[in-house]
């Protein structure tokens, strides 16, 4: 019974989120473009599907995966668990005593990104625009690897207490270097994938992980150090998608026989 009420509430909420955007788009079409919208009916039906779908999706997550994920983040960062699985022998907990946290961070970052609806949208579009050269699944896996590595490294930063902007600056140096070498067509897509990864599914789970970790590690404040994981999750997909583009070029070069090497277009 509660679940039905929750479901209705979430669907209602997502309708309230979608409605202003829909009204704005329709108003713009009517007042500025002043043309009849082609297939108006189809678009209205589509909006209903988007709102209902998003609502069901969120209620499902809120009822199941989020509480479980948050609980697990707490359990993995609890002092009892950390002491039971520690590697260092004496003294305070060392950074490598948090190995399960890194692994969980990487796994949860990777898997939640694969289920991120906004990323699916961008992958579908990129696949269509590139004429199939960029695979829907391949792009999503590339982004997910980036998020997994990013969140894991972000956890290390919280534990070690190193300044956030050092990591970000170093990450962007890598991005600059890759940008000069990667095929031009992948660059804008790679930059975009940084922003799309962190929406509905990933953010609540990794934020819970960050706050739990900052509370558990001695000398960290949840308020000062708990933030910043999202920034890592936005930066590393850029690197991994650029790398995906570089790998694709490399593979194309390898598959060409040495005789045809000269015929390859310069990238």
């Amino acid at each position: 019974m509660d679940l039905i009420l929750d479901t209705l509430k979430f669907v209602g909420n997502s309708a309230i989120d979608v409605l202003p955007i829909a009204v704005f788009l329709f108003a713009f079409q009517l007042l500025v473009i002043r043309e009849r919208m082609p297939n108006f009916r189809q678009i209205v039906i589509g909006f209903v599907f988007v709102a209902v779908g998003l609502g069901l999706f969120l209620v499902g997550l809120e009822e199941t995966l989020f509480p479980l994920g948050r609980l697990m983040a707490q359990q993995l960062t609890a002092p009892e668990f950390l002491n039971a699985t520690r590697v260092s022998v004496v003294g305070a907990l060392d950074w490598q005593d948090y190995h399960w946290v890194y692994l969980f961070a990487a796994a949860i970052g990777f898997s939640t990104t694969l289920a991120e609806p906004a990323l699916m949208a961008v992958s579908i579009k990129a696949n269509a625009v590139s004429g199939g050269a960029v695979g829907v699944w391949a792009l999503r896996v590339a982004v997910a690897i980036g998020v997994g590595v990013g969140v894991s490294l972000g956890c290390y930063r919280i534990i070690s207490g190193l300044p956030l902007h050092h990591f970000i600056a170093a990450g962007y140096l890598v991005v600059i270097a890759q940008t000069t070498m990667a095929p031009k067509v992948i660059v804008p897509l790679a930059y975009d994938s940084g922003g799309v990864t962190t929406s509905t599914v990933t953010v609540p789970l990794i934020t819970a992980l960050g706050l739990g970790l900052a509370e558990a590690v001695p000398g960290r404040s949840a308020l000062l150090d708990g933030f910043g994981l999202v920034a890592f999750a936005s930066l590393f997909p850029i690197i991994s998608v650029l790398a995906y583009g570089q790998l694709a070029v490399l593979r194309a070069k390898k598959s060409e026989s040495p005789m045809n090497k000269e015929a390859l277009p310069e990238e």
């Binding site: 955007i21 898997s111 975009d192 940084g194």
Partner: protein, 247 residues
Amino acid sequence: MKNSLIALSRDALFSLRDLLPIVLVIGIFQIFVIRQPVSGFVSLIFGALLVVVGLTFFIFGLRLALFPIGEGLAHSLARKGSAFWLFAFAFVLGFGSAIAEPALLAVAAEASKVAVDAGVIAATEEARSDYASGLRLVVAFSVGVALLIGVFRILANWSLPVMIIGGYILVILATTVAPREIVGVAYDLGGVTTSTVTVPLVTALGVGLASSLKGRNAMTDGFGLIAFAAMTPILFVLLYGIILEWT
């Protein structure tokens, strides 16, 4: 009708595959690492079912509504040839979707607590809500500006890497002068502003615009709008923090 049903069931299969990794990760960690029983197995299965159905509907609606309308508007605006309306559309779309974003509300409220703890603002309810709504306005404004700049870039054919990297150099510079408690919040806000409904719309807008302009490539020129929307909030919030500290 029959075709849509086939499309729907195919999407449902894909959604199932997309969610499987999360279920596996949580299951494996629960069984082998944490080793504690999970309560409410039935409600877990039911919830997972809702997630699959929800994701399926969302993707279905995306193809029916968000993609066509985003591209349709981009084409119409390009045909109209009015740069003013194009910029106005981009700005309002960015500002409007960011101000309505629930994740932004949550982070802004959290950030106001940090500010109280750091002694930047008074520990009153009024000061906190002022700070949080100020933050939201700054972020929404910055997302509006981001889409405006992004659309301008597509029209002017400027280099995306130069603009984005340049922007992040400004971000790093601003970080060194910004008050410490705002840095983490600012960096996180860049990620939360681009919501699930906005991303498909903005992507369709960029791709539609690039494909309706002569001499532009949809792949190299159409993408990149989200990149701006992820960067400008960081910069603007850092500047907001710096200004608040000085005054």
